[in-house]
Symmetry: D2
Subunit: 297 residues, 4 copies
């Protein structure tokens, strides 16, 4: 029975840790929230007091945290992972954070003769629950191979992206493009409807033309163009506007650091910042930008 440490039992992490338990791993877990701790304990995990206790107990560590401040704290605080980590430990960080933050942590791990890979995910809460996540992995090839045995229990795709930080880079670039496309599809569909087109007809032509994309042919933001997607259910569930705003913010940080101009990416970020601060839109699927643009009194 293999032991895995799991730090961060939030909306995503609790499902991921549970999928490891289902696959007969022994899970030693930590979260700041006692309620989250209790839930996973009742499902069979061992709960410890500090991140340092997790690192003391196993050489396989997974972290799933909301931002780089949390990741830094979990690794570098006085009761953090780096206090007790053993040589040969593999740290798998599934948090979505700045590329530079991933690279910084990996260096601190290296000083302890431990390995670090960044492995951010796509697939959302549903993917976490059903173990259908995609992991985008950056790090040494052998660490990627070693991580696979854990990641495959929580997801269906584990994609190798190159050295440390490349998992973050791939996720940030894909999601920036996704945000741009979702707004673009919403603008084009709304304009078409206002010009007198039937939205299903417009979508069907776009989907076989040069405008086709995932946001149009698989996840269309116009209600009732495609069945079973959030737009048909008043944008409940799915990938929230706040999360899209977060990922687009990471893209902007990268754009500034790399001096890579991203005019549409930055405007997409601003639009999702507006949605993310609005009570009607912030907790809705990111396709709700269609509703924001099309709504008139």
């Amino acid at each position: 029975m293999t032991t895995v440490g799991f730090i961060g039992l939030g909306q995503m992490g609790n499902h991921m840790a549970r999928n490891l338990l289902k696959n007969s791993f022994k899970v030693i877990a930590y979260d700041v929230d006692p309620k989250r701790q209790a839930e996973l304990k009742s499902d069979g995990a061992e709960i410890v007091k500090y991140p340092a206790d997790v690192a003391a107990a196993t050489k396989n560590l997974i972290t799933m945290l909301p931002n780089s401040s949390c990741v830094n704290a979990v690794f570098t605080d006085s009761k953090g992972i780096l206090e007790t980590i053993s040589p040969g430990t593999l740290c798998i960080d599934s948090s979505t954070i700045e590329q530079s933050a991933s690279i910084d942590i990996s260096k601190l791990c290296e000083e302890k003769q431990a390995s670090y890979i960044d492995a951010p995910v796509s697939g959302g809460v549903t993917g976490a629950q059903n173990a259908t996540l995609t992991f985008m992995v950056g790090g040494a090839k052998n660490d990627y191979e070693r991580a696979k045995s854990f990641l495959e229990k929580m997801g269906k795709n584990v994609v190798y992206c190159g050295g440390v930080g490349n998992g973050q880079a791939v996720k940030i670039c894909n999601n920036m493009l996704l945000g741009i496309q979702m707004i673009g599809v919403s603008e084009a569909m709304n304009l078409g409807v206002k010009m007198g087109l039937d939205p299903k007809l417009l979508a069907s032509i776009i989907n076989t033309s040069s405008g086709r994309c995932w946001s149009s042919d698989t996840y269309n933001p116009v209600p009732n163009v495609i069945e079973g997607v959030p737009s048909c259910n008043d944008y409940a569930g799915g990938f929230g506007s706040q999360l899209m705003a977060k990922d687009l913010g990471l893209a902007q940080t990268a754009s500034t650091q790399c001096k890579a101009p991203t005019p549409l990416g930055s405007l997409a970020h601003q639009m999702y910042q507006i949605l993310a601060s609005h009570p009607d839109f912030k907790d809705k699927d990111f396709g709700v930008v269609y509703k924001f643009l099309s709504k008139t009194q």
Copy 2:
């Protein structure tokens, strides 16, 4: 032997008219440019002096012109189509123009007991040459059926989009989305490369993820990611930046008239206006926006 009138023998129109000749139609043609006239004459067309002469000779008219001023002139000038048009004539306008301009012309035709459909195309010069264009048709269903026998000789898809003006609407909406996506892909690929990713790897992951789209998986603007596309040949050929600027401008006119907000569409328009006024970029394929964004000293 069916007779067709063809007005506008430019970059697109001369190939389209030639494809009608190849399919044993009798073509009566007009263009402002004597050189264009002479070329088509040597291929078998009959050349007349004025648009009115074309309309006097046949009830099947095709127009392929660069903008709505030209279309208006060809129809309403003193030697224009409307001077001599017979009841029962079908006017097929393949120009890409404002939806409102199409609707206005259709009403003038109706007053003469003639029909009008708008049938703008996609597929570019290559599509015109190889008779592989897509026609997006707006007009009465029976006019669409009647037009098909001509359009099928010049293209491979003839898509019915609803009433008059809907062909323009579909083309404008699709191309606005296309312009947004091409810039978005260029931004994401450039950012990824600057963050240390291999462009082929990044494209391959995007193309199986939520960021996938035609501009990424079929027409990638990064040189050598996909073989045989303009980006591999310094952006020669393809769909020019100036044409994209034109189509995005039509989308902005529609956005203003319909009061449909298009933030990304308007920014895409401005970026292609910048490219279209720059000697290094104006005559290049619209994927050249990647070069514009990635170029550093």
Copy 3:
């Protein structure tokens, strides 16, 4: 007693015509709305049935209409101005419309040996009421001199801008810049407040620094930074978001026609289109963009 024709007695026009009456002009007026007609009649104007009747009665014509369709109709309809206009008539068009529309009308007037100047205004309803408008005049210099005697009764500045259409050009350019600045000030003030600054302190430093502008030092959109402006009164009165959206739309039409890139102008247009379609913002002063950006739950 000099006679003036006045066509268009709306929100602005009724005050302007009244100021002419107050200055002892004889006013012959027309409006589509009988209520507006009745109001001005009770103030001393003579009301006629058609624009053609106004033009038949006087060689001094003022038009104040909401858009170029209305202007075109008033001039070219069968009962329009051009039916009865006499040689030597001066048409003063104070409508804010496309530059190209002004130029087109001026040519039709010229064919009748009449003159045309465009003279759009700034100053809003308050300026119309108090005769403190600014007129931006495009046309022949002697027509400008002739127009002055009328315009000075309705405003306090009559600025000569050059040939026909230049009045529109100046107004469109100034108002595009104004829209950009108002959003810019709103963004900067909101960001500053979120960073912990007192808005009055921030404004006072900006107003003596390189960021100073009219939207900051005279019309600040943050409530209670400057007394007596619309932001202190929940953005009531002032210059409405819908009017700003209209002017920014005219700037976009000009940008497309002239191939002059206006990235910030087009984004400003889109933002005011969003505000202009929102019930909470559409009828408010354009400074309400601060409220839109700063509002969080």
Copy 4:
């Protein structure tokens, strides 16, 4: 004779330190570049080996560094300021950096019973040379009073902005607005010229209307509209595009951290990123955006 420590003798810092020498201060200085050290030594400064040596020698410290990495290094490295700083020392940081970085450093100073104020400047190299800089100061009021005696020798305005970090906030907000206005003026002037207006006439009207701002009435980016500004000298000197890109990047970092939407600010940032990566524009005054927008072949 008062002693002052000065760390960072770059384009700005060398002039600032020299102005202290001119005012009979004893200056103990450090820079990474031996050439810069030698220059200031020949002007009378004492040069030391490490930042720690500066802090060991005086309780009055000024830092003028290009970014927060440098500031962090100068304070926290093993030979950094914090190694040797005495209680009662006042650190005046004139670097333009993230507000959060200023606040973090101030806390480290506080742990050593030392004070920290952020005092970023505006006025550029010319202002540094002529001692006409403006300092925007954030920190305790008594620290501000103490700092004044030094700052007044290097600038003509020392503005108190509130607590630590507020100097950065004011500078970032003002300069974001400035960047927006400069692009806005450039767009409006270029559009006006393309619409047929004389640029001097247009500027003169804007400057007495609601579009007036510093970028139009004092620093107009159109050549020969105002005498003696960089636009008249092919944009040589002045405030460089790269520096504007840096400040707009800091504004974007703040916008993301504070969740304050800045649509125009982010687009302005992207535009200056494009200019800052272009060999023709990167070293020019930021008014060169006019040239970028107006240039056609």
